[in-house]
């Protein structure tokens, strides 16, 4: 039986001892709690129209990736985040960095908009009703 479970035990024990992400060891923390907020990141043009990622950017640029990078930015800098209450200075700092990553290696000549705005949509539950608001994080003029 030991042969059939020693790797299971080794992987679990070492991952727990490390206690954080250290590839290939992980705590698999996805959805380990359900806080009363979630964020999604969207793009709009100067007219306030949605700019879909897939129609304008290379395939590795997407809403999910931006969300991961937003949390990585806050964790890396040890900034307090969540519940829609981040400091506006940090939000702008994060917005600038995310915008730079988004536009990296992109051909901006083919964009049919002059301004790109990055918003953070903040969802929360208020007495069993889902509410949201869009906060502007960063605005970038596009050079064609």
């Amino acid at each position: 039986m030991m042969r059939k479970s020693f790797l299971f035990l080794f992987y679990v024990v070492v991952s727990l001892l490390i206690g954080k992400e250290f590839h290939p060891f992980s705590l698999f923390p996805m959805y380990n709690s359900f806080p009363n907020y979630s964020y999604a990141f969207l793009l709009k043009n100067e007219k306030g129209e949605l700019i879909p990622y897939r129609k304008n950017f290379s395939k590795d640029k997407n809403a999910g990736g931006l969300a991961h990078q937003y949390y990585a930015f806050f964790n890396y800098h040890h900034y307090q985040g969540g519940f829609g209450g981040e400091d506006s200075v940090y939000i702008k700092e994060a917005g600038k960095e995310l915008m730079a990553k988004l536009l990296q290696d992109e051909n901006t000549n083919r964009f049919n908009f002059d301004t790109l705005r990055l918003y953070k949509r903040y969802y929360h539950l208020d007495h069993d009703s889902i509410r949201y608001r869009d906060d502007l994080m960063y605005e970038q003029a596009i050079n064609h």
């Binding site: 790797l7 992987y11 992980s26």
Partner: protein, 282 residues
Amino acid sequence: MSRLLTINTYSDTEWRFIKIPVAFFWLASIRSANINHELVPYPVGIFTFINGSFLASAHTVMVFFVCAIVLALLYIFEKWMTATTFFMFALSLVLFTLEESSGIFNRHSLYTAIFLSQAFAYYRNKPALSEERIQFPVQLIAGGYFLAAISKIRQSGFGWFTEAPLASIQMIKGYSYAYFNTGDVKQFEKGMKHANFILEHKLLAQSLLAVSLFLELFAWVSLKNKTTAFIYGLLLTAMHIGIWYFMNILIGSIFYPMIIFMVNPLYLMYAGLQRLVGLLKP
């Protein structure tokens, strides 16, 4: 089919139908690894000790991908397996750590660990190799699910599932991603519909979450034998389908290795087809 499952060994045919999809999904993960070129902005793992920027250039990543294609072919054609699986581990370790150091956590840990376990199985080269190259990965997959359960209990306690109404906020997020990526507003409407369903059926939502926590916590049951691995694989598949339906989220880097090693759907189709052909023969 039932007789095949009760025999606690794996045939070469079963192994063939495992390694082909493993190589395919691993290559797809390598190809789509979201790496911030020329920069390692949020170093994690091995790159907290060494500066990985020199490995992150677009050219280097392309060279890694070409190496990955060669390794995947060697893996499928069963060539120099100790070295092949070890280099697959090393390549995964570097590339996926680079991805995680770009702030993107696509949870590819299992692929990396699986190849190391297979290198170990081939290095041992025991008579039980045909079982160990499949059962060792099953142990790591079960470990991943068990760790996910422990993570939930440590963070939220055994009452994790009672927070089900708040899961609606996470559900709408998954569908929002789809809307913001494609511009298809129907995705957002679908997410709102599912989220409101959860709010209106709290007990059902809590029960489903409790079942998924139970499944993850007892994932080690799958290690008993081939039959338990198969049955557990089916249960976990049902769980993933439920998460995908309600939340529009499928964590492929965990789901694909699980279904391939525990259920082996390609082999099941092959065995079913063989049986059908046998029945149709005059």
